[in-house]
Symmetry: C2
Subunit: 246 residues, 2 copies
């Protein structure tokens, strides 16, 4: 039982100041926890979800398929994320949500969240902010795919994942666990998996990263970030980055 509401409280406390009353309301949410096998869809295009999905352990990802069968991965999600929070206000899913690794997910009824939002505008604001931070990541992805070459794009992806994993305690020093195949990276970055492979080799040869199975070690942060043109501001992880008094 421990951990369901707790995780949500921790998450929102990292976004906004939570009162005792708000905390109690969060802990009272009826969260249904489920284990989901890797690579299984959780919500699909066209669905009209009545729950939101809180990632509690493992990684998830969202993707779209196009006519000729190609897949574009939109974003990956770390514990604490609520990848389909948008379904609160956009009834019909326009993309898919799936487990990347075996996943522990908490499902929260929309009704309960709407009720919470009406009673606690600050909580609503914190959730709203979460969807906005996700959009900020999408914007930077557009920049990467649209303007950066393969090498810079790959480097940028590594920088971003490291920061996001570190923010939830899943990366430290220079190491992160990144259980993602090169095909998935390719579908996320809009390049062929062969090219991803070559760019990773190039990053290795330049002594910027090393790969150990599903672990990535960053050997040279300064050069990696410079190559990637990486500025973490868009992740909106910093407390000072939040509006005051709301």
């Amino acid at each position: 039982m421990a951990g369901e509401g707790d995780m949500l409280v921790r998450k929102l406390a990292s976004i906004a100041v939570i009162t005792a009353e708000e905390r109690d309301a969060l802990l009272a949410l009826p969260i249904a926890v489920r284990e989901i096998p890797a690579r299984q869809d959780i919500v699909r295009t066209g669905d009209k979800p009545v729950h939101c999905c809180l990632v509690m352990a493992g990684l998830a990802f969202r993707y779209k398929l196009i006519g000729d069968g190609k897949r574009q991965i939109l974003n990956f999600h770390v514990p604490g994320d609520i990848p389909d929070l948008q379904s609160l206000h956009l009834a019909v899913m326009d993309h898919n949500l799936a487990a990347l690794t075996p996943l522990t997910a908490g499902f929260i009824p929309h009704d309960a969240v709407h009720d919470l939002n009406a009673r606690f505008p600050c909580l609503a604001g914190a959730l709203w902010r979460d969807t906005l931070a996700d959009a900020a990541v999408l914007r930077e992805r557009i920049v990467s795919i649209g303007q950066r070459d393969g090498l810079s794009r790959t480097a940028h992806f590594m920088c971003e994942m490291f920061r996001r994993l570190a923010a939830v305690g899943l990366a430290a020093d220079c190491a992160m666990a990144l259980p993602i195949t090169q095909v998935e990276i390719a579908d996320a970055l809009g390049m062929s998996f062969v090219h991803v492979n070559r760019m990773l080799r190039e990053l290795r040869e330049r002594r910027l990263i090393t790969l150990q199975g599903q672990r990535v070690l960053v050997e040279n942060w300064a050069e990696l970030e410079a190559l990637a043109d990486f500025d973490p501001a868009y992740l909106h992880l910093e407390a000072r980055d939040r509006p005051k008094g709301i």
Copy 2:
């Protein structure tokens, strides 16, 4: 004086059911109207805005610059859009907002919107939904840039702009005014302007569209949409697409 609050009421009424009380509160908002010359920045990366910008007439666009000077246009905005609504909850701008054409913009103080959100959760939900629909457009842009070839990408862009302009009465039948240069289309679609030019020619040669200065005529909707793999669902323009009772 007419038009400032009116436009906002119309916009939100197209998203949610607005009560008389909510309508009055919207009309009481202190909106400062300003004319902005074409190509002028309105808000820049790093700014901490205290107003939101409502596009009342003309077109706007958002963009990011990267280290080597390249520009990625994230989205274009039509009248009724509030392109920087996200600044309500993300204090620091991570991109720029600029006028594409001469622009009539209404500036609404954040304080007033926060106050409104606290008093009227349904209005807050409608605004939230607006930011989510913007994110949906970003997602589809990622798919376009990541997976579609130049021709399909260009066709998709035309389909999207047509639908969005039509939704606010700026396109009808098969014609829309699209005062955008090929360089801007190129920066939005992540391709060179030379290639955009060639793809537009190809669309013309296939008799899918014709260009008349700043007007675009769609000659063959069925084929254009098929070529673009275009499904307007992601625009979330349909009323039936909205959750009920919120």
